[in-house]
């Protein structure tokens, strides 16, 4: 009873936070956080629960963004229709690509999804007549009969119920019997197969659901910003969402939201505060982070993969479960590399990223 009370308390808190967000941050950034969070949750559904690292999820996010933008711009579709259409296109794309990609696992799955995403990138770039090529699609309207959605605050609250529905759906999937079968497949596919589960069909289902949710987020993004561009489908976007998910903690849906918030707020702060460092070695007197966003993203990537693989939420959970873990963590910082790796290989609990 106590446990479920605390859970509902968490839901209420999250809801309040979501409602208050555009009052604290400027609304476009607030919506960005929610949308990237949904994107990261979609990826985590696949990575954390089915054990499949997709390095090409930008294709679903991007394709849905383009589809929604086209429908809103050329057919004046109301925004829920445009978003639904985006999700539909992402789903239709995910079925063949997922069907092919799940024939490989592990590192090959990452390479295959990356390659398919690059193919989608090329096709969108080539189809200039429809997608605008390098210019992208500009001035995408967001419409709803009878409501003026020009203000980004209003659009935030209009989009919020849909996005919360997306979060709720991901949560339900993970905690359903279906989600438990996914975890079984992740931990030992041969055993799940021996128990009679058609593991390929489960993995494909997870892939398609994940793509549809990523598509929903991408569709809202192009409506929120009023444009769709090639950056949506670029491989750096796929990489960014992977690092957000890992920073939050693999296999912890809530954590992905934290990871997204940290990365986006950091990027926003760095670009507006105009922090600059001088790097004489590079021949420039000083570089601003605005000029080199990927130096930052790349550095975050390297640091997290080296020292923070559990992620924020994973660390919080661990500290709750075993308070002595913190002292161990501090001790590990001073211990030799080999012993840390050996110790971690033995005791990594989320275990979604292992052989």
């Amino acid at each position: 009873m106590n446990g479920s009370l605390r859970r509902y308390g968490m839901y209420a808190l999250a809801m309040l936070l979501a409602l208050a967000l555009p009052q604290v941050l400027y609304p476009v950034l607030a919506l960005d956080i929610l949308l990237w969070a949904l994107f990261a949750v979609a990826l985590d559904l696949l990575l954390g629960f089915a054990g499949l690292l997709s390095f090409g999820h930008a294709m679903f996010w991007g394709v849905a963004g383009y589809a929604a933008a086209l429908l809103a711009r050329n057919a004046q579709a109301p925004f829920p229709i445009a978003v639904l259409a985006g999700m539909l296109v992402a789903t239709l794309l995910a079925i063949p690509i997922g069907w092919l990609s799940i024939r490989r696992a592990g590192i090959y799955f990452a390479m295959v999804t990356l390659a398919f995403a690059q193919m989608v990138f090329f096709v969108i770039n080539e189809a200039r007549d429809i997608t605008g090529g390098e210019n992208g699609l500009q001035s995408v309207p967001r419409l709803l009969p009878g409501v003026d959605l020009h203000s980004s605050v209003v659009f935030y609250y209009a989009a919020l119920p849909f996005i919360l529905l997306g979060f709720w759906f991901a949560h339900r999937v993970v905690h359903s019997p279906f989600g438990h079968v996914l975890i079984a497949i992740r931990d030992n596919e041969a055993r799940a197969q021996a128990l009679g589960y058609p593991t390929r069909r489960y993995k494909l289902m997870a892939f398609v659901i994940s793509a549809a949710l990523a598509g929903m987020a991408g569709a809202f993004l192009s409506l929120s910003h009023g444009f769709a561009s090639l950056e949506f489908v670029h491989w750096t976007t796929s990489g960014t969402v992977v690092i957000m998910t890992i920073l939050g903690g693999i296999g912890t849906l809530w954590g992905s939201i934290l990871g997204v918030a940290i990365v986006l707020l950091l990027q926003d702060w760095l670009s507006t505060a105009n922090v600059a460092i001088s790097l004489p070695a590079l021949g420039t007197t000083s570089i601003s982070f605005q000029d080199a966003p990927f130096v930052i993203t790349g550095a975050i990537f390297v640091l997290i993969v080296l020292n923070f693989r559990r992620g924020v939420w994973g660390t919080i959970l661990r500290l709750r479960d075993e308070p002595q873990a913190f002292t161990n963590f501090v001790r590990n910082l001073t211990r030799s590399r080999e012993r840390v790796v050996a110790a971690e290989a033995k005791t990594t609990p989320p275990a979604s990223l292992r052989d």
């Binding site: 990452a110 390479m111 790349g298």
Partner: protein, 308 residues
């Protein structure tokens, strides 16, 4: 259609195939020994090209010295990164090193972009290789011919090193069963850093070879590495010879499908040729080939089921 045209397309395919082979060979060597899929391979390729470019621009060091020194510089940088960073993730899932090298790629590319800008820098081919070579049926740019011959030569030397020498035997043994090799009294760990350096040197060499053909730019390796991944999925990371053959084969098949097939189709059925956008396929064709391979032979042309 004239046979000389087909031959020309095959040679064009071999030029692209040279780069596919050099880069996927380096990836295969590294993966075999370290179980690391090196995302930064494209960035090392770019750095090789820049090393040659900077040597020529700032110090007047010519192409012939550059083609030897630039890969060595890239190898040194690679070995430093292996010692400092990549080494720390052995024993964990290979995906972690994939992510680490992805982060490194972003940093290396953006750092070079800050210094040199997005614009490509031209690099002159050496005077000895300028002009066109007459091959009887066709005339082909001398430099491109040199690229094919040189890449083929390098690939053969690497194959010989790994399959026929004692060092190669150690590397192969460590690839198959590292523990057993250690038990035989061979210091496997001593070879890990040099093998990584060797693999990225091949990428750097590819970069130097590409410099006179394509402009030298910070993002020149960014799209190439993903094409290389597709090549690797097609061939499988399993074998040295496999990655060489697959590299050249993919280059030639792409050239034939985009260059020759449309004309062939046009002679039989002009309608079909008009509907199929084969000539515009270009870069996407490699990914289509990958999809076909996944469909009919998921382990890759020359891969084994074990190397998942």
């Amino acid at each position: 259609m004239e046979p000389s045209y087909v031959l020309l397309q095959i040679f064009n395919g071999l030029v692209n195939g040279s780069f596919y082979a050099l880069l996927s060979l380096g990836l295969a060597v590294i993966f075999g020994m370290l179980r690391v899929v090196n995302f930064a391979h494209g960035a090392f390729y770019m750095l090789g090209a820049f090393a040659a470019y900077i040597m020529l621009q700032s110090f007047g060091i010519n192409f012939w010295i550059g083609i030897i020194v630039a890969p060595l510089l890239v190898a040194v940088l690679g070995m430093i990164l292996e010692r400092l960073l990549i080494r720390r993730l052995y024993g964990l899932d290979p995906l972690y090193n994939f992510l680490l090298t992805f982060g490194l790629t972003l940093m290396l590319q953006d750092a070079m972009r800050l210094r040199f800008g997005n614009q490509g820098q031209p690099y002159r081919a050496p005077a000895e290789l300028a002009g066109v070579a007459n091959l009887g049926l066709i005339a082909f740019p001398t430099y491109r011919l040199f690229v094919i011959v040189f890449a083929l030569l390098v690939c053969l030397v690497v194959w010989y090193l790994i399959e026929r020498t004692r060092v190669g035997m150690v590397v192969r043994a460590a690839t198959e069963k590292a523990d057993l090799t250690r038990a035989l009294g061979i210091d496997v760990d001593r070879w890990i850093t040099p093998v990584f350096g060797f693999g990225v040197a091949l990428a750097g060499l590819g970069g130097v070879l590409a410099a006179p053909m394509r402009n030298v730019s910070p993002l020149m390796g960014a799209d190439l590495i993903i094409v290389i991944f597709a090549v690797v999925v097609i061939g499988g990371l399993g074998s040295i010879l496999g990655s060489i053959i697959t590299g050249f084969l993919v280059g030639v098949v792409v050239a034939l499908v985009t260059g020759v097939l449309p004309q062939l189709l046009a002679t039989f059925s002009p309608d079909l040729a008009r509907v199929l956008p084969l000539t515009q396929l270009g870069d996407t064709l490699v990914f289509v080939l990958m999809a076909i391979i996944l469909l009919v032979r998921p382990a890759g042309l020359l891969g084994t089921a074990e190397a998942r």
